[in-house]
């Protein structure tokens, strides 16, 4: 047994989980998929006094795709999203295939991944690029935290310790929009050294009506290039313009170097990936008639 001793609490439903979390103040952790939490417990990077297991909370299950949004409950596994994506979204399918491996995705939850807030993780960047949000429940009731307000630092979100993330909502790209996703990782399924996501939609004249460009693995949190998106919006996404945006967006990043990749290398790769995902997104765009 590798984790430090903890009290194990099985929550019956979301309200029960919130009550249990409140009882332990900031000393408890929520156990959902556990695919990031268990390694942290085993390495004793985390030593919570209690684990509140939400796996039996039926009211936290579910996945709903309606009105242009995908809403996933706290217990929706990454594989559940993958199965949904197979018939509904090659975009999500592409992104999810890069999240670890099948046995991890069978247990790991999408919401858990989002609030674990690993800066090199794909889903937080996707949430950011799809104007998403996380809904939480705490002693003060329910609130919605937009992706832009969620990520503060590596493994740190704006959620309070006793707040339970109950679901996440992704706003699906507009009709006819194209997408691009690319990452460089040391092995398939590893956390990305650098990753990039783009979503583009065109109006009838061929100008950009909707643009999102996001990066992960290149800073303390996933980031969107608001400046790059503004340059694209309302203009024709020519190759020259895409290159300009990709270079400027990468130059504005502040990655840190580590054993596997220097900051300079990350910035360079970010520019290359941005060009590629913008081209891929444009190639998948359908012009409205």
């Amino acid at each position: 047994m590798k984790p430090a001793p903890f009290e194990y609490v099985v929550a019956r439903d979301a309200a029960d989980a919130v009550a249990s979390l409140a009882r332990f103040g900031d000393e408890a952790k929520v156990l959902a998929g556990g695919q990031s939490l268990l390694p942290m417990l085993a390495l004793r990077l985390a030593r919570p006094a209690a684990l509140v297991d939400i796996n039996r909370c039926r009211d936290l299950e579910g996945l709903d795709d309606s009105n242009g949004a995908l809403t996933v409950g706290a217990l929706a596994r990454q594989r559940d999203l993958e199965r949904w994506a197979r018939s509904r979204s090659p975009f999500f399918q592409d992104v999810l295939a890069s999240v670890a491996h099948v046995p991890i995705r069978n247990r790991g939850t999408a919401v858990g991944n989002l609030v674990h807030a690993d800066p090199a993780s794909e889903l937080p960047a996707l949430l950011l690029c799809l104007d998403g949000s996380v809904t939480t429940r705490g002693a003060q009731g329910e609130r919605v935290v937009r992706a832009e307000q969620l990520y503060l630092a590596p493994l740190t979100t704006s959620l309070a310790p006793a707040e339970l993330a109950t679901r996440a909502c992704f706003i699906l790209p507009p009709e006819g929009a194209g997408w691009g996703f690319a990452e460089v990782a040391r092995r398939h399924g590893d956390f990305a050294l650098v990753g990039c996501i783009a979503v583009l939609a065109l109006d009838g004249t061929g100008s950009v009506s909707h643009a999102r460009l996001g990066f992960f693995g290149v800073g303390a949190t996933p980031v969107r290039s608001a400046a790059g998106e503004a340059v694209l919006r309302g203009r024709e996404p020519t190759e020259a313009r895409r290159t300009e945006v990709a270079k400027a967006a990468a130059a504005a990043l502040s990655p840190t170097g580590d054993l596997h990749a220097s900051a300079e290398y990350r910035r360079k790769v970010a520019a290359v990936l941005a060009e590629r995902v913008l081209a891929a997104a444009l190639g998948r765009c359908q012009r409205p008639r």
């Binding site: 047994m1 001793p5 556990g34 695919q35 268990l38 085993a42 297991d53 046995p103």
Partner: protein, 161 residues
């Protein structure tokens, strides 16, 4: 802290008290003596401890035993149809030299069992992608890929027969 659980492993139901800190891998190996489930990195990277939980491959080191309460687990010990007969995957690993030291093999077989049910006629690329979740330090993977492809053919032929 102990917690009462009822877990079905390879068809046999076990009702006992486990320490809440025990992983499913520890439970299988130490409580049930099912040491075919190997433990490598103990943080989800190597894939050696992969077992099936309700038919889906999961890391037994990333699941607390208490979380398996009420669920069904299948391990490498439950793969062969009888003590005298191997599963087509096991047979193919032997025939194609898909293993050397054998440490990673049980995890790969369990993943492959679920994989071939989902993808009965996989491409080499698909097999390699599935294997990306498993580390093998002996074989260089080529013979493992061949073994899984061979097992897929055997299973398909049996399905038709």
């Amino acid at each position: 802290m102990k917690h009462a659980v009822t877990i079905t492993v390879n068809g046999a139901t076990h009702a006992l008290e486990v320490d809440v800190r025990s992983t499913l891998a520890e439970f299988l190996r130490e409580e049930l003596d099912l040491t075919g489930t190997h433990v490598g990195c103990e943080h989800g990277v190597c894939g050696a401890c992969t077992v099936l939980l309700n038919g889906e491959p999961v890391r037994a080191c990333l699941l607390l035993a208490v979380q398996a309460d009420g669920h069904e687990v299948r391990t490498i010990e439950g793969v062969a149809p009888s003590p005298e007969e191997l599963h087509p995957l096991q047979e193919a690993f032997r025939a194609k030299h898909g293993l050397q030291c054998g440490y990673c093999t049980p995890g790969i077989i369990m993943s492959a069992c679920a994989f071939l049910e989902e993808v009965p006629a996989p491409s080499e690329q698909a097999i390699r992608e599935m294997l990306s979740g498993h580390l093998c330090r002996c074989t260089g993977y080529h013979f493992i890929v061949e073994a899984i492809a061979e097992a897929a053919r055997t299973l398909a032929a049996r399905g038709k027969a």
